[in-house]
C-alpha cells in the first residue's frame, strides 16, 4: 500500500512539473509571437484551424474546400502554413454544437459559420469577437462594399440596425422559386392552361417576377396530377428548425404583414393580425397541391421531390441551386422570385433571407485569431469571391454581383440578386431568445398545417402572446404580454 502511495505521489509530482514547464514554455512561445505592426508573427509556423459549418450545405463546405487557395496565399504573403479541417452539424443541431463548445471557452472551432439569427445569442453571451476594429483596420474589409444594406443588417449587426458588427457574410441566400421550365414551356400545357384559367402560363423570369399568389395557385392546381405522380408545389412545412417559418414568412411579408416591431419589440398586435392569419391559411392551402407527406418536408425533402420530377415548382433556398439543378435537369429549370400579393394596389414581393455569417471564436489564442483574421480578409478579395461564385456559392460583394455576366454564371443567381434587397427580402429576429421564439412558433405553425389546430388567428394569438412574454421576461421588450395570456389558447 505504501509503495502504491509512493508511486502515485511521484506520478502526481511529475505531472505537476511537466504541466508547469508546459505553461512556462507556452508563455514563452506566446511572448515570442510579438506583434509586428499589430500582427502576430507566425513566420515559419504551422497553424491548424478548424471551421465549424453546416452539414450538407454546399456554400458552407466551400469555405473549407477553398482553403488550399488560402493556404498558398498565406504562405506567400505571411510566411506561415495554415492547415484547415472542417467539422459540421445539420442546421437543426449546429447551434448546440457551437454553443456548448463556446460556453466552455474552448477554441475547438476557430471560425464558425453561424446562422444570421444567432448573432444576438452568440454576441450577448460574449463568445464571439466584435469585428468593428478588424473591419476598420483591414484595407480589404474596410473597402468591401455589400450589394445592399440588408447584408450588413442581417449578417453583421446586433442589435438590429446598429453599427455593432459581429459577423461577416459567408454567403448570402434567399428563398426562391424553382420552376420546371420544360413543363411550363410545353405547348400542350400552355394551351390547356390558357383554356382553363384564361391567362398565359408564365414561362419567363420577367413573367414570374410579377406573378401574384392567386395566379401562382392556379399554376400549382394545373400541375397537380396525382395519377401521373406530378404535383404543383413542394414547400417546407416541417417542424424542424425554421423550416416552416422560412416558407411562411414570405406570405406574411408579401401581404403587407410584419412578424414584430423591431423598434419596440412588440409581437402582440403585430403578428396576430387578420391579414397574417389569412397569409397562414394561404400558405397551408398549398398543401392541396403538394405531394403526400409534404407536411413533413424540410430542405432535403423539397430537393428530393423536385429532382425526382414529382413537382412542377419548389420553394427552396438559392444556396441549394447546385443540388436542385442536377445534370439531368440542366436547361430544364427556371429560377425566379417568389410570387407576391397586391396590397393596396401595389405589388409586394418579400422573401425570407437565408445565408450565414462567419463569426470568430473570441477564445482563439493569438496565433489562431491572427489566421482567422487573415482568412476573413482573404475571403473578400475579388478573386476569392469570384471563385466562390463559380463553385456554387452566393457572394454578397457589390463588385462581384455587378460584374458582367454574373446573372448567367448559375441559373439561380438572377433571382438571388433580384431578391437580395431591402425591398424584396427580410430576416427574422436576431435576439438571444430566438431559439425559444422559433421553437414555439414552429410547434404551432406546424400544428395548424397538420390539422391539430383549425383557426389560424387563434394560432397567431397564442404565438404572439407567448413570444411577447418571452421578450418581456428577458427584459428585451418593455411591452408586457396581454393580461389574459392564460386564456389565450390555440384551437
Amino acid at each position: 500500500m505504501k509503495r502504491l502511495l509512493k508511486v502515485l505521489s511521484v506520478s502526481l509530482v511529475s505531472l505537476l512539473v511537466v504541466a508547469a514547464f508546459s505553461f512556462a514554455g507556452g508563455s514563452k512561445e506566446a511572448a515570442a509571437m510579438t506583434s509586428q505592426g499589430g500582427r502576430v508573427d507566425l513566420q515559419g509556423k504551422t497553424i491548424h484551424m478548424t471551421i465549424l459549418g453546416i452539414g450538407g450545405w454546399i456554400p458552407s463546405r466551400l469555405g473549407v474546400e477553398m482553403a488550399p487557395i488560402f493556404q498558398k496565399y498565406a504562405k506567400e504573403k505571411y510566411g506561415y502554413n495554415a492547415e484547415f479541417s472542417y467539422q459540421d452539424a445539420p442546421f437543426t443541431s449546429l447551434y448546440q454544437k457551437a454553443a456548448t463548445s463556446l460556453a466552455t471557452h474552448s477554441q475547438e472551432f476557430n471560425i464558425i459559420i453561424s446562422d444570421s439569427q444567432w448573432l444576438g445569442a452568440l454576441s450577448n453571451a460574449g463568445w464571439i469577437l466584435k469585428l468593428n476594429s478588424l473591419i476598420e483596420g483591414n484595407p480589404t474589409l474596410s473597402k468591401t462594399q455589400w450589394w445592399d444594406p440588408i447584408v450588413q443588417e442581417s449578417y453583421q449587426s446586433y442589435p438590429d440596425y446598429s453599427n455593432e458588427l459581429w459577423g461577416l457574410p459567408q454567403e448570402g441566400d434567399v428563398l426562391v422559386l424553382y420552376v420546371r421550365k420544360d413543363l411550363v414551356d410545353n405547348p400542350t400545357n400552355q394551351k390547356n392552361f390558357k383554356a382553363q384559367y384564361g391567362f398565359d402560363l408564365p414561362s419567363t423570369f420577367e413573367e414570374y417576377s410579377h406573378l401574384t399568389m392567386d395566379k401562382y395557385i392556379d399554376i400549382c392546381k394545373f400541375f397537380t396530377r396525382p395519377a401521373d405522380g406530378l404535383y404543383g408545389v413542394a414547400i417546407q412545412y416541417s417542424k424542424e428548425y425554421d423550416y416552416m417559418t422560412g416558407s411562411l414568412y414570405p406570405f406574411i411579408w408579401s401581404s403587407g404583414g410584419q412578424i414584430w416591431d423591431y423598434k419596440t419589440n412588440a409581437v402582440w398586435g403585430v403578428l396576430n393580425t387578420d391579414s397574417n392569419a389569412k397569409a397562414l391559411e394561404t400558405d397551408v392551402s398549398l398543401l392541396k397541391y403538394a405531394p403526400p407527406g409534404d407536411v413533413d418536408y424540410g430542405i432535403g425533402q423539397v430537393l428530393d421531390a423536385f429532382t425526382q420530377g414529382k413537382v412542377a415548382t419548389a420553394w427552396q433556398w438559392a444556396a441549394e441551386g447546385s443540388g436542385m439543378i442536377t445534370p439531368q435537369l440542366e436547361g430544364k429549370v427556371l429560377v425566379v422570385p417568389l410570387p407576391g400579393f397586391m396590397v393596396n394596389g401595389k405589388f409586394m414581393q418579400v422573401s425570407s433571407l437565408g445565408g450565414q455569417p462567419w463569426v470568430l471564436n473570441k477564445f482563439n489564442d493569438p496565433a489562431h485569431m491572427q489566421v482567422a483574421k487573415d482568412f476573413m480578409a482573404w475571403w473578400y478579395l475579388p478573386q476569392t469571391q469570384m471563385e466562390f461564385v463559380k463553385q456554387g456559392g452566393n457572394s454578397v460583394v457589390k463588385d462581384v454581383l455587378d460584374s458582367p455576366g454574373f446573372d448567367n454564371i448559375h441559373p439561380w443567381l438572377r433571382a438571388y440578386k433580384y431578391e437580395l434587397t431591402t425591398e424584396h427580402s427580410r430576416d427574422f429576429w436576431h435576439v438571444p431568445q430566438y431559439a425559444q421564439m422559433l421553437a414555439l412558433q414552429q410547434e404551432y405553425f406546424t400544428g395548424y398545417a397538420s390539422g391539430a389546430y383549425h383557426d389560424a388567428k387563434s394560432v397567431l394569438d397564442y404565438i404572439a402572446a407567448q413570444q411577447q412574454k418571452i421578450l418581456y421576461d428577458a427584459g428585451i421588450s418593455k411591452i408586457p404580454p396581454p393580461t389574459n395570456i392564460a386564456n389565450i389558447v390555440a384551437h
Binding site: 500500500m1 447551434y95 448546440q96 454553443a99 456548448t100 460556453a103 445569442a121 452568440l122 450577448n124 453571451a125 460574449g126 416541417s238 417542424k239 424542424e240 405531394p291 403526400p292 407527406g293 409534404d294 407536411v295 413533413d296 414529382k310 438571444p432 431568445q433 431559439a435 425559444q436 421553437a439 410547434e443 404551432y444 406546424t446 400544428g447 395548424y448 398545417a449 397538420s450 390539422g451 391539430a452 389546430y453 392564460a486 389558447v489
Partner: protein, 320 residues
C-alpha cells in the same frame, strides 16, 4: 459488501478472523482489499452521478441561461412555479404518461402471451430461429429503427402505403397526420420492445419450480388457476422487474419521436424528454431545464416505488 464478506467468512468456518493475503501483511485484510477495490467504482459513481444530480438540483433554483453572460441568479421556486403554469409541459407529461401506459401495457400483455407460446413449444422445430428473429428488433438502436420506420411510413414510396394501396386503400400520411403520428410511434415502440417482455416472460416462467407445476397438473388445476396460484407467485418478481425497466425506458422516450416527427405534427408527439431537450439544448435555459429534469427524475423514481410497493404490499399481505 460487508454482509457478503461476513457470510463468506461464516461459510468458510465462521470463527476465523479476517482473511489476509498470502504475503501475510497484517493490515491488508480481505475486507480492506474489498474496500480498496470498490473505491474506483464509488469515485466514478460520485463524480458522474451524485455530483451532477446535486448540481442539477441546485441549478433548478437559479435563473441561468448559457446564452446570457450574467451569472446565475437565485430565484427560489420560480422555475418550478413557471413549469407548473406551463401548459406545454403539462401537455408533454400527459402525452408521455399516455404513451407509457399504452406501450408498457400492450408490450406486457403481448410479451406474456407470446412467452406462454414459446414456453409450451420447447420441442417445436425452428423454435430457436423464431426466437432469434423475434428478438432482432430489440437489438436495433432506436435511431436505426426510427429511420427504417420513417421510410416505411413514407406516404410516397413507403412500403406501408404500398401495401395499403395494393389492398385498395388510400394513401396514409402516418407521421404527418395529427391523429396518426402518436399511434405510429407507439406501434414502432411495441414492435421494438415486445421481444424484451417475451424474454422477461420466459425468465419469469423459468423461475417456476417444475415440481409445483407437476403438482398442479396432478391435481388437475385449471390453467387460469395454475397461472394465478403457481406461476404468478413465482414469476411476478421477474415480470414486475421487466415492467419497471420498460416503464422507465418508455417514460424517457426521446430518440424515436425526435427522429420520426421532431415532436410533431404540432405537439402531438411532444414527449417530456423532447421538451426537456429543447429547453436545455435548444433554448439553453439551464435553470428551468434542471427543474424539469428533477421533476422527470422524481416521476421515474415514483413509478419504480409504486411497483415495488405493490410487490411488497402483496408479500406482506400473504405473510399476515
Amino acid at each position: 459488501m460487508m454482509d457478503v464478506l461476513e457470510v463468506n467468512e461464516r461459510a468458510a468456518g465462521g470463527k476465523r478472523g479476517p482473511q489476509t493475503f498470502r504475503s501475510g501483511h497484517p493490515r491488508l485484510s480481505t475486507q480492506n482489499v474489498a474496500r480498496l477495490l470498490i473505491v474506483p467504482v464509488m469515485l466514478f459513481f460520485v463524480v458522474w452521478n451524485v455530483i451532477p444530480v446535486l448540481w442539477m438540483v441546485g441549478l433548478g433554483f437559479y435563473q441561468y441561461s448559457l446564452t446570457n453572460p450574467t451569472p446565475p441568479k437565485f430565484v427560489g421556486l420560480h422555475n418550478y412555479l413557471s413549469l407548473a403554469n406551463d401548459a406545454g409541459v403539462w401537455w408533454s407529461f400527459g402525452r408521455t404518461l399516455l404513451f407509457v401506459i399504452l406501450s408498457v401495457g400492450i408490450e406486457t400483455a403481448l410479451g406474456a402471451a407470446l412467452a406462454f407460446v414459446f414456453w409450451g413449444s420447447v420441442r417445436l422445430p425452428g423454435r430457436r430461429l423464431a426466437l432469434t428473429l423475434l428478438f432482432a428488433p430489440m437489438v436495433l438502436t432506436p435511431v436505426a429503427a426510427g429511420t427504417f420506420f420513417k421510410l416505411i411510413y413514407d406516404p410516397t414510396f413507403g412500403v406501408a402505403n404500398y401495401i395499403i394501396q395494393v389492398l385498395g386503400g388510400p394513401k396514409v400520411d402516418f407521421l404527418g397526420d395529427a391523429h396518426l403520428a402518436f399511434l405510429s410511434i407507439l406501434l414502432v415502440d411495441i414492435w421494438m420492445w415486445t421481444p424484451f417482455m417475451i424474454l422477461i416472460g420466459l425468465a419469469a416462467l423459468g423461475s417456476v419450480p417444475t415440481a409445483e407445476l407437476e403438482a398442479a397438473r396432478v391435481d388437475r388445476l385449471p390453467f387460469h388457476r395454475t397461472v394465478a396460484h403457481v406461476i404468478w407467485e413465482h414469476g411476478k418478481f421477474v415480470l414486475i422487474l421487466g415492467i419497471i425497466l420498460r416503464t422507465i425506458e418508455s417514460f424517457k422516450i426521446m430518440d424515436l419521436p425526435y427522429l420520426m416527427t421532431s415532436g410533431g405534427p404540432g405537439n402531438k408527439t411532444e414527449f417530456i424528454a423532447i421538451t426537456l431537450y429543447r429547453d436545455a439544448f435548444n433554448n439553453f435555459m439551464m435553470g428551468k431545464s434542471s427543474a424539469l429534469a428533477l421533476i422527470t427524475l422524481m416521476t421515474a423514481i415514483a413509478f419504480t416505488s409504486i411497483f415495488l410497493y405493490v410487490l411488497h404490499y402483496q408479500r406482506e399481505r400473504k405473510t399476515i
